[in-house]
């Protein structure tokens, strides 16, 4: 493509090699000024890497970058910032124990004399931006205390505060609620109206359709195509991305629920700060049924799961599995009662990143035969079990059993966890955000697995912030609001809008308290 000042960004022939791995192979990207341009590709396709090159975090091994038709050499983020590039990273770049304002001004502080911070002025500046773009945040809240959605807004504010004209959003919606996503798209349109240009990375085709003008597709580090979004439908985009046709709709037969396997009765849990987070919550899960908990982040999901898995104390109430109470014991007791949990934070709770994949595969089973005997591990058994898992769940690369889990991509890490938990043959499988950050193909795989396990008679509790996922996978939908189940539906009984309303605290059936 010609170099021209009509384009906010032109990246030509970008090649990036990590170690021995070629993450980007002569990739092109051309983004017209004042448009929203999306970047689509499977997990590990190289999208984040490409954007990190643009932002100066990585140096490309080959290729040129032009901004507004000028060739530039971006060797560090400072230069990118100076050129009006702002980036919201896939993994948030926020200092947890700083306030929102501190995070926003960091590196570009408002000071009175001698480098002394002028927080008052900084606040005013931030509040001005908040007003202008409708990005609601509490400037004095600590980041560790605010919701993920708000953190997202803080990230955007950071970029705007620096006067960014070109905004890169790397998977901004992966952690947002439907409402928040809508808000974000509106914000993006506001920004465009203000003359800015946006590059957005997302795995959600619907969002691409709703937000973007053009879309560039890359696959395994190679440029595939750039299309006009209006000209393509979701299936076409998906198949371009994966390289073959995909099925976007979850196929499943109606549930055949058995007896009650799992039962929560009047559970109360407090959060880290001692405030009630789960209040008199009751629910049941039957064998052969997927119960989905729909809710906006921060309505007690975290505390509910922590109490069930005994990471925190329940104030009162009971949690029963097959009639036995397990609350306020310990995590091992939960596992011993055949509850398996896919935790939302795979790197923190799900895996020991520096253990090998094989060691991770037996994280709950290492004490049992045949994986150990008389207190000694049986490595051969562990290895053969792991290789089975790798094969069954198509973990890539297939020879990874003896390599550290850190080396796997997020999607493959997730496969290891799911495989491990399913292999525990649990009576209850709890899946929290099991598809977070995964690409379409991987999501399809996870959903199929959940349904397969349901059909084998397991009880499944699915907690997800993605309403789509709940709507398409769950047999029973419980809506969580302010730590309570405010309503419950069978699949098909209800539409997305109603549930979205309930999640946001709207009234329905007079059940709201």
């Amino acid at each position: 493509m010609e170099v021209s000042s009509d384009y906010a960004v032109q990246m030509h022939g970008i090649t990036k090699i990590f170690g021995t791995f070629c993450a980007l192979d002569k990739v092109d990207l051309d983004v017209k000024k004042g448009t929203i341009h999306s970047l689509l590709g499977e997990n590990g396709a190289g999208k984040s890497t490409l954007m990190n090159v643009l932002y100066g975090l990585y140096q490309a091994d080959e290729g040129e970058i032009y901004l507004n038709g000028e060739k530039v050499n971006i060797t560090n983020p400072n230069i990118a910032i100076a050129h009006g590039i702002g980036m919201v990273h896939q993994h948030f770049m926020l200092v947890d124990n700083f306030t929102v304002t501190q995070n926003i001004i960091l590196g570009n502080e408002t000071t009175s004399r001698f480098g002394v911070l002028d927080m008052k002025k900084a606040r005013e500046h931030v509040e001005g931006l908040v007003q202008k773009y409708g990005l609601e945040v509490d400037p004095d809240a600590k980041v560790e205390d605010i919701s993920v959605g708000m953190q997202q807004r803080v990230e955007i504010l950071k970029a705007l505060y620096r006067g960014a004209d070109l905004l890169i959003l790397d998977e901004p919606t992966a952690v947002l609620t439907p409402q928040e996503i809508e808000d974000l798209i509106e914000i993006m349109h506001n920004l465009i109206a203000d003359g800015k240009t946006i590059i957005i990375i997302t795995h959600k085709l619907k969002e691409i359709k709703e937000s973007s003008d053009t879309c560039t597709i890359i696959r395994r580090g190679k440029y595939i195509d750039t299309v006009n979004v209006a000209d393509e439908d979701e299936e076409e985009l998906a198949s371009k991305m994966v390289g073959h046709a995909v099925q976007l709709v979850v196929e499943k037969t109606p549930a055949q629920p058995g007896e009650v396997v799992f039962e929560i009765d009047n559970l109360n849990v407090k959060d880290d700060r001692g405030l009630p987070a789960v209040q008199n919550l009751s629910l049941q899960v039957h064998a052969g049924e997927i119960v989905g908990i729909a809710g906006i982040d921060g309505n007690g999901q975290k505390e509910l799961i922590e109490a069930v898995t005994n990471l925190t104390k329940a104030e009162s109430g009971t949690v029963k599995i097959k009639g036995e109470e397990i609350q306020n014991t310990n995590p091992r007791n939960v596992i011993d009662h055949k509850i398996a949990t896919i935790h939302e934070d795979r790197q923190k709770r799900g895996l020991v990143m520096d253990f090998t994949v094989a060691e991770n595969a037996v994280l709950e089973k290492y004490r049992t035969k045949p994986y150990s005997k008389n207190g000694m591990l049986n490595r051969a058994e562990i290895l053969s079990f792991t290789n089975g898992l790798i094969k069954d769940y198509d973990v890539r690369p297939e020879d990874c059993a003896k390599h550290p889990a850190r080396g796997l991509s997020g999607g493959n890490q997730q496969k290891v966890i799911i495989g491990r938990e399913v292999a525990n043959e649990p009576d209850l499988l709890i899946a929290v955000q099991p598809t977070r950050g995964l690409d379409v193909g991987a999501i399809e795989y996870v959903h199929k697995t959940l349904i397969r396990e349901r059909d084998r008679g397991r009880a499944i509790l699915l907690v997800s912030l993605e309403l789509d996922e709940i709507m398409s996978v769950a047999d029973t939908i419980d809506v969580l609001y302010k730590g309570q189940i405010v309503d419950s539906f069978r699949q098909g009984e209800v539409d997305e809008k109603t549930i979205g309303l309930l999640m946001a605290g709207g009234e329905q059936n007079g059940k709201d308290s």
Partner: protein, 306 residues
């Protein structure tokens, strides 16, 4: 009564001043994300250089300043290892503790005709009330100027860390270097500055031992203070004011043990000597508890890792 109180206060501050400098050094380094176990070694280097320069120039202040420079220069080794080479910071710090005293003694031999202790400096750092006081209370409260300097250093560090842009940057680098990096803050440069500063402060600490508490360098002038300072960093939860308080507490416990010896408390002196350490643990259990290091403390920063 007043005598005894002033005595306790005087001894507390006398004991803690060198520790405070060392601990502040630890704080600044670790707030930027570099664990510094080498304070002891840096203090020893400062202690030697301070007296050597103080002796040859006849001016203790020059000695004090050069001690800081020397400490900073020595800390540069730690910086190179732990920042540029991304080495294990624990190991590097321990290495400095082996090299520091060895180097100090070796240099001492070279400059003081084979002796491992220096000549006494002609002038010590001054005291706040000048020379000896006839009034006992005044004498007890006649602090070394280093006591005041240590307090000022704490205040300044507190102010810089929490009220200025550099402080904000240092703290961000220690908590989340990648975030700082994406905002154009140089993690490497920030950490270098902080580690070198920590050496400067530790050097001051060593020199305040050998230019104020005593007036010469001896092979045992610094024996364990660096580790107590390290403990104070943790005790004080990585804040300048906390570390300062921890050093004072420790100094007070020592002063108290000495005082109990003076008033002939019928306790074996070995047990009295243990007292400060036991007291510290008790205070920890009762009042302090968990202390959480800056999130990235001890982790080398590599671009692009998560």
């Amino acid at each position: 009564m007043l005598n005894n109180i002033s005595l306790l206060i005087g001894n507390t501050f006398m004991y803690s001043a060198p520790l405070i400098f060392g601990a502040l050094g630890g704080v600044i380094s670790e707030r930027s994300g570099v664990v510094n176990l080498g304070i002891e070694g840096m203090m020893t280097v400062g202690a030697f250089v301070g007296t050597a320069v103080g002796y040859f120039t006849g001016n203790p202040w020059i000695g004090f300043l050069v001690a800081g420079l020397a400490g900073g220069l020595f800390a540069l080794l730690h910086a190179v290892a732990s920042i540029t080479f991304k080495a294990d910071q624990t190991i590097s710090g321990i290495a400095l503790n082996l090299i520091g005293p060895g180097l100090a003694l070796f240099l001492c031999r070279m400059f003081f005709s084979g002796a491992t202790m220096t000549q006494p400096v002609p002038h010590k750092l001054p005291k706040i009330l000048g020379g000896a006081q006839s009034n006992t209370v005044a004498q007890n409260l006649n602090f070394d100027s280093t006591v005041i300097l240590a307090f000022v250093a704490m205040l300044v560090m507190w102010f810089v860390l929490y009220r200025t842009k550099w402080g904000l940057r240092v703290r961000s680098v220690g908590e989340h270097p990648a975030a700082a990096d994406t905002l154009g803050i140089s993690v490497t440069r920030t950490r270098y500055v902080c580690v070198i500063l920590s050496g400067v402060l530790a050097g001051f600490g060593g020199a305040s031992m050998t230019l104020a508490v005593i007036q010469q360098f001896t092979p045992t002038a610094i024996s364990g203070q660096g580790f107590i300072a390290l403990a104070a960093v943790i005790f004080g939860k990585w804040t300048p004011q906390g570390a300062y308080g921890a050093c004072l507490l420790f100094g007070f416990a020592q002063a108290l043990a000495v005082f109990m010896g003076l008033v002939k408390v019928p306790i074996r002196s070995e047990i009295l000597a243990m007292l400060p350490y036991i007291l510290t643990i008790i205070v920890l259990i009762l009042f302090v508890g968990r202390s959480v290091a800056p999130k990235s403390d001890g982790l080398p920063y590599e671009k692009g890792t998560r």
